[in-house]
């Protein structure tokens, strides 16, 4: 009975341990428990401190602010949008800005925002191409609805970006009149980032691609392909980014992979969480 309670304590503490280390962690604590002859409950309760330490260790600032998953990326944009909205309309500074929100002022302001967005779009078109690369469907391509998620994700990003800069400029306008230019330049920078971010994501799971590998050499571009290959750690596909656009490879190209290849990739290996035995 008591043994069951101790195992239950350890299992509960194990929930705090990061998943890849959990199996080995629990095996160690269970093995140690076998040698504890007295005060085993106190011993098991110590496992929470150990588990918390492992959890803290796994939580690095780099990972916390990583935009690897699409949800994190959307939250990364939604939070500043919400914050700038609160700053714009929830603070006393809003009172200074009230005259603008007369019916006439509202129209003028909306027209100004629209005009700035339009102008920044013109600048964007001249600054960089809007193409996202080629994503030819093959037999391993997922269903259309999954492929459409990529466009929905891009649309959400593009919709949130002007809101951030618009609310930020409204919040700053009472104290900094040229703040409306934040909308103009912010939107240009934000849109460029949204496109660049979209190009580096898996077409299926929308996670950021990893393991960039340089292939070939610029001096041998006539004889063979050169550029960078990126891979989805979940094995959904590979992205080929040409080092220099050629007539036969002018833009980046995505290739859906055979699902059996996922077993070769690191994410699939760590998911097994095997306990090493020497």
């Amino acid at each position: 009975m008591l043994r069951t309670l101790h195992i239950a304590i350890l299992r509960n503490a194990a929930l705090l341990v990061p998943a890849p280390e959990r199996g080995e962690w629990l095996a160690e604590w269970k093995a140690e428990l076998c040698y504890v002859s007295h005060d085993a409950t106190h011993f098991c309760l110590g496992s929470f401190r150990d588990a918390l330490w492992l959890r803290r260790k796994s939580f690095s600032a780099r990972r916390a602010f990583s935009l690897d998953s699409p949800l994190r990326c959307v939250l990364f944009l939604a939070l500043p949008a919400a914050s700038s909205f609160l700053l714009a309309f929830g603070l006393p500074s809003r009172e200074l800005f009230m005259p603008l929100f007369s019916p006439q002022g509202e129209d003028q302001f909306a027209f100004g925002c629209f005009w700035l967005c339009f102008e920044s779009l013109l600048v964007l078109l001249t600054l960089n191409p809007l193409g996202l690369g080629e994503y030819p469907a093959n037999r391993y391509a997922p269903a259309l609805i999954i492929r459409l998620r990529r466009w929905v994700f891009l649309a959400i990003k593009i919709a949130l970006l002007p809101l951030i800069f618009m609310f930020a400029s409204i919040a700053l306008l009472p104290i900094f009149p040229p703040a409306l230019w934040i909308l103009f330049f912010g939107w240009i920078a934000g849109f460029r980032w949204a496109l660049a971010d979209q190009k580096q994501r898996c077409a299926v799971c929308l996670r950021l691609l990893s393991n960039p590998t340089r292939i070939g050499s610029p001096t041998q571009s006539i004889l063979g392909w050169y550029g960078t290959e990126l891979v989805c750690t979940r094995g959904h596909g590979m992205l080929y980014v040409p080092g220099a656009p050629t007539s036969w490879c002018s833009t980046q190209r995505w290739q859906y992979l055979d699902p059996t290849r996922s077993s070769l990739l690191p994410q699939a290996v760590t998911r097994r969480g095997a306990v090493p035995r020497l």
Binding site: A27, E32, H42, F43, L54, V275, L278
Partner: protein
């Protein structure tokens, strides 16, 4: 060198205990009198800093003794250097484990 200066008294005691041959967590606990919630996180920190190295016991040996396999810890070369520095910093550290002191002599 950075890890040498950062080693706390508790971590130094645990490192000394491992160097003395107490190779697994519960043994370190019994020897040092420290609670499990202190010993195991300290072992992880020492391993992260490269001062000790862990190794799972062979399943065959554990099966022969009819017990689950244990995770053993061993001090590394860096660990030994750090321990030597810690012994200078905490002069009473070496006296905590007289067996080891005799072995050294």
């Amino acid at each position: 060198m950075a890890s040498e200066s950062r080693l706390s008294h508790t971590a130094a005691i645990i490192l000394q205990s491992i160097d003395a041959g107490h190779a697994y967590g519960f043994s370190v606990m019994e020897e040092t009198g420290l609670p499990s919630g202190t010993v195991y996180p300290a072992l992880r920190r020492l391993e992260r800093d490269g001062l000790i190295r862990s190794q799972w016991e062979s399943e065959k040996i554990a099966e022969t003794d009819q017990r689950p396999p244990r995770k053993y810890y061993r001090i590394t070369r860096t660990g030994k250097a750090t321990l030597a520095a810690s012994q200078k910093r905490y002069p009473l550290l070496a006296r905590l484990f007289p067996v080891h002191a005799e072995e050294k002599a």
